[in-house]
Assembly symmetry: C2
Homo-oligomer: 214 residues x 2
DNA sequence: CGTCGCATGTTTCCTCTGGCCACATCTGCG
DNA sequence: CGCAGATGTGGCCAGAGGAAACATGCGACG
């Protein structure tokens, strides 16, 4: 599954003029760079250097630095969607699925902190500048919608305000993810990264309890 | 209550060499500028120009652009703390207080979107570079902690995991605020700014229901 | 009331970064 | 074989953060 890395290696060893798969290499380099520095605002020149290429080469593949970041974000959303779907499939009962999906969201944010930050970077908005990003984002959100609707159909959740329920679930896990990724919970609570998933599970379960039809 | 604005006006009318209260003027200008553009990464030169001053003058009052943003963030946290305390005082019963504080958090984020964005801007971390910011942030969070402990003492909430409960509450409203401020909820849900508070109230109430001792 | 020191603001300069252009190099296709 | 288009390079510019040297004015102290 790593033709990309092969291409990168070839470039570095052989010193060929043409890279072979520069677009992917740039996206990967940007992702890692952001994950390492924790800062979305990284110099494009550094990313190009990581890919073993001059800074101007990036413009053969992306209209702008923002477009590169948008691609990183779009791939992040695709990966997130995948993980959410897998998590949903793991849960047996509808309410268990809600919890699994929520925990998976937080887990994704912690594992892929670099991508997660870019995915919600305000400087990429308005999103309609990057159609693939808008679509990927929408698709990931659709997983939440699906699992909630399923729970409503199974009469586990109240049916009166589905949008509100989706917002509640998404908002809860998103807020958790943000606070964890940005380390705002580290000071007061000192929470390890593995405890985070357990804590998220507890919290989501409690919200689901509150949302339950009664 | 506006000596600051007076000073700014004096400067603009009189064209005096010394501003009189440049520090405050810069902070205000930055805040407005960010709120308007929606982007934290604004040119320091523009802020200085808004304050009617050359860009280098800012360095007499702040070590760096980041320090200016940190001051904006710190004042934001102070204002947030104030609003949260007022909201807490509005609620009669302990669980009502929880809801009021949560709603106030979301309302603050929407009203003061500029400040809110800066307050959680990752580029300002690590926070120990800016002690006043760290302190202000901690104090604001303390309001959540206080209102939760009160509810626990009143036996409204379970007592086994106070930190988890604080995280749940904060995470829920923070996630909501982020998604609203960044407009991620606009597409799928098309939510007006006044509906947002009502929606937040509903959601927080449901979480509190889930957290309730049973 | 003068004058001197220090805080505050300005000008100028340097470096870094995003973005553009002309040129170089490769790859594939007729 | 050779040409055309795609891909990468180096040089350039403009804008932005930051430092340094200079200018200005407020306030304390004689």
């Amino acid at each position: 599954m790593r033709p990309v890395d092969e291409r990168v290696r070839l470039k570095k060893e052989g010193g060929r003029y043409h890279h072979g798969n520069l677009k992917d290499a740039l996206v990967l380099a940007a992702e890692r760079s952001i994950a390492k520095s924790g800062n979305v605002d990284l110099p494009l020149r550094d990313v190009a250097k990581l890919a073993g290429v001059s800074h101007a080469a990036a413009y053969r593949h992306f209209d702008s630095k923002a477009a590169l970041l948008a691609e990183v974000a779009a791939r992040g959303f695709k990966a997130l969607e995948e993980q959410l779907r897998e998590a949903g499939a793991r849960g047996r009962a509808p309410d268990a699925r809600l919890v699994e999906v929520g925990v998976a969201y937080v887990a994704f944010a912690l594992e892929s902190a670099g991508a997660f930050r870019v995915m919600f970077e305000p400087s990429l908005k308005p999103l309609d500048r990057f159609p693939q990003l808008a679509e990927a984002s929408f698709n990931a959100l659709a997983v939440f919608h699906g699992v909630v609707q399923e729970a409503v159909a199974a009469k586990v959740l109240r049916a009166d305000d589905v949008s509100g329920t989706v917002m509640a679930l998404w908002g809860l896990v998103h807020g958790h993810a943000c606070l964890l990724v940005d380390g705002h919970l580290a000071g007061p609570f000192e929470l390890g990264p593995d405890d985070a998933a357990a804590s998220a599970r507890l919290v989501v379960r409690r919200l689901v309890d509150g949302l339950r039809e009664r």
